[in-house]
């Protein structure tokens, strides 16, 4: 082969790779409006500060505890590494990934996801996995969580999954082609709207109430990993009104916690003590809490973390304070904007269609399910 041909070949390969790279950037969902939770996992890597608390779990954990309120009231630095329908295996590998960056004093894991045995749509996998940085942990997390019809290669080259969005591109896809502003507040999902529901889906108790063996295995792995790293693990159950959290499940978690020397807090049992009012503290009829409810939970839990776990109040640390003051300002500003919009329109336009629309093709509404 002639040298000139080799040069042409190399240039062609470089141009093809660059063009596909650019197209991939264009075609992947941006999650900047509407389904913003799609950006939560990746935003963690932008935050260079250390955290005393890392929250893990599904949508309940990123909706129900305000990280900013924890800072404001107790000076606790925290980050929520939760994502929609996060599977136990994913929580475990995200925790391992986190430990490669930092070792927090405490890891708080929401056990709501223990009842989830499989994902019905790949959209949830994508929301969790696409944001994770590449490492052996990500590879293992993908392999552990892939559902039927998914291919590992689609994660390596997301364009293979999202190429069909060429027909659904929006202005956002061009606007956020090269940079995506943060949409979470240290992993917290701020919603200031209110949606009260008086009727709830019927309970559907299963014949076998024992947790799935795979989930139980990963919960044990999470506990073992924290023990190995000398990090305190706390289990919580978020105070959602539904889906139902049965006594059989609660006792299994209590037993697990006792056997492993871990504390477990079921916030649903103390919702009155926390002060949660499902008339005003939820944005989706009791499934998740809005900012009013999330601050109440943060107030309650922050007190426990400070008084019983002795977490440091960082409010006098100027370097940390600067970061959190900026975060608080953004949080308050967004909260006010949402409250004003809700007061005027009765909804927050950015989230109005999250139950029906999606940025992921194939009708896989990332927001339509329980998250």
């Amino acid at each position: 082969m002639k040298k000139s041909h080799l040069t042409v070949l190399a240039v062609t390969l470089a141009i093809t790779a660059a063009a596909l790279g650019l197209l991939q950037r264009l075609l992947v969902p941006k999650y900047e409006n509407n389904i913003v939770e799609g950006n939560f996992i990746s935003e963690y890597y932008r935050d260079r500060t250390k955290h005393d608390v890392i929250f893990l779990g599904d949508s309940n954990v990123y909706s129900d505890i305000s990280t900013v309120e924890l800072w404001k009231k107790y000076g606790i630095t925290s980050y929520t590494r939760g994502s929609s329908d996060q599977m136990l295996s994913q929580s475990y590998y995200i925790l391992k990934d986190t430990f490669e960056t930092e070792l927090p004093q405490t890891v708080v894991f929401d056990v709501s996801s223990m009842t989830r045995t499989e994902l019905k749509k790949d959209a949830f996998n994508r929301i969790t996995m696409d944001g994770m940085r590449w490492s052996l942990n990500k590879i293992k997390a993908i392999r552990a969580g892939m559902i039927k019809g998914e291919h590992f290669l689609d994660y390596v080259f997301p364009i293979l999954r999202f190429h069909s969005r060429w027909n659904d591109l929006t202005a956002d896809d061009f606007r956020y082609l090269f940079s995506r502003p943060s949409v979470s507040y240290n992993g917290y999902y701020l919603r200031a709207d209110v949606k009260t529901t008086t009727t709830y889906p019927p309970d559907h108790k299963q014949k076998n109430m024992t947790f799935n063996a795979v989930n139980a295995e990963y919960l044990q792995k999470i506990a073992d990993l924290c023990r190995e790293k000398n990090v305190t693990l706390i289990l919580i159950k978020s105070p959602s009104r539904y889906p139902a959290w049965y006594d059989e499940w609660d006792s299994q978690i209590s037993d697990f916690a006792s056997a492993n020397g871990i504390r477990y807090f079921n916030f649903a049992k103390v919702k009155d003590e926390i002060g949660i009012d499902y008339e005003t503290d939820t944005y989706d009829g009791g499934l998740h809490l809005n900012v009013s409810g999330a601050e109440k939970v943060a107030d309650y839990f922050g007190n426990i973390l400070s008084s019983e776990y002795g977490l440091t109040d960082h409010r006098s640390d100027s370097a940390v304070k600067a970061y959190w003051e900026e975060m608080t300002e953004r949080y308050e500003s967004e909260r006010k904007a949402q409250e004003a919009e809700f007061a005027e329109l009765g909804y927050v336009s950015r989230y109005r269609n999250t139950d029906t629309e999606t940025q992921i093709p194939d009708g896989s509404s990332a927001a339509g399910d329980s998250r």
Binding site: V8, T12, T16, A19, L23, I159, L160, R161, S164, P361
Partner: protein
Amino acid sequence: MSMVSSGFFGFLFLACFFYYLVPGKHRWIFLLLVSILFYLSGGMKTAAFLCVTVFTTWFAAKRVKDNRIWFHACLILNFGILILLKYKTEFGNNFLLPLGISYYTFQSMGYLIDVRKGKYEAEKNIFRFALFVSFFPQISMGPISRFDKLKEELFTPHEADYEKLLSGARRILRGCFKKLIIADRLSGAVALIGANPEHFDGIYVLVGMLFYTAELYADFTGGADIAIGSAELFGITLPENFRTPFFSQKLSKYWTSWHITLMTWFREYIFYPAATCSPVRKLSKKVRSRFGKKAGDRVSLWCASILVWFITGIWHGFNMSCIAWGLMNCAVLLISHELEPAYEAFHRKFPVEGNPFYSVFCAVRTLLLVSCLQMFDYYKTAVLPFRMFGSLLFSSGFSALFDGRMAELNLSPADMVLVLSGCILMLFVSLSERNRSSGGSFRKESFSMQCAAVSALFIFVIVFGTYGTGYNAGQFLYNQF
């Protein structure tokens, strides 16, 4: 393993990479190993049938020159297996249909008949014969090759030739373009219209007919491109299976440029033997003595044609619609043949041959004729196509395209534009390659142009192809045979 799956392309890349690392004289052994691996990836159980065909054909071929029993026994056994498995529903068995059973059976039996006729010597080495039968790029949907031609390609050590590698890659991508951008994009709408004839009547019959024709062409030729391109990566040239069939001026020309190797097989191994067999010769003699020479000569042509098209119909499916499709093609061809003197007289009086407008008219006429005949296969019954043509002629006109039913076809305006652009592109590529081998024009391009074409095709297929989650990329239609 689908030939448009990432698994296949990964497999192909690795096979090609290691092929050129193996010493030249052992490369065919490597090809045999990867072909076995490819076949086994489709299931261990069905591979047993391929083994039976390979062994019995190789064994019988060495003896058929002076032993008719081995010849007939081998034919009966292998065609018996094909019929039993292909028409399993009719025979009530539950065997899985082995990948490419039609193609490898036809190819093996063609070899057996050629050896029996003394066209070439039987292959002594069973492994070399096994590679001829199982060569993985062609086993699932052809082309059907002849041993004397393919053996030179398979067993000659090929050195890595970057032009052939690039040409092969481009051919594969062209196949992917046809399959993933055009055929699979249309398949949903085609299936919907065909399955709901009461709802999609009138002008939608024409829409379904044209969509189905475009889907079939893109699917079949796309598959052939991938097979031929894959072989080219190993330096192996397979016979062309399609040669611009829709430029044919008449139906008989169309059938010599559509699925060429299969139609050639039918002609060589069914038509000619049937036309010259003893019963047909006797019948021809009787007719000649009673009705004259012309009528006598027609007997062999008519008998052999009807048999070939009956078998072609049954090969497509053991049902009345496929048999009707085959026999309708036969009827049109025979009537055209009988009217040949009338055409010639007409053309003597009105010399329009050679006029480009007349050529376009004839090509469009062939396209419409083929599309109409395909309606028997499309609607899966022998009677419904007639009713649907009635509906097309007498129901509402073009305005029905805007009554909302078009939106039910799951084809967005952007999809339509893409399909139309793709079809126009196919037309231009076909025009530029007319009367030339597919690779011929390509080799004249500069190296940088070749690279640019491969790059552009690759990007197009990645972005606009119908594949991945959310799509059920259909199998190649010819895979089903």
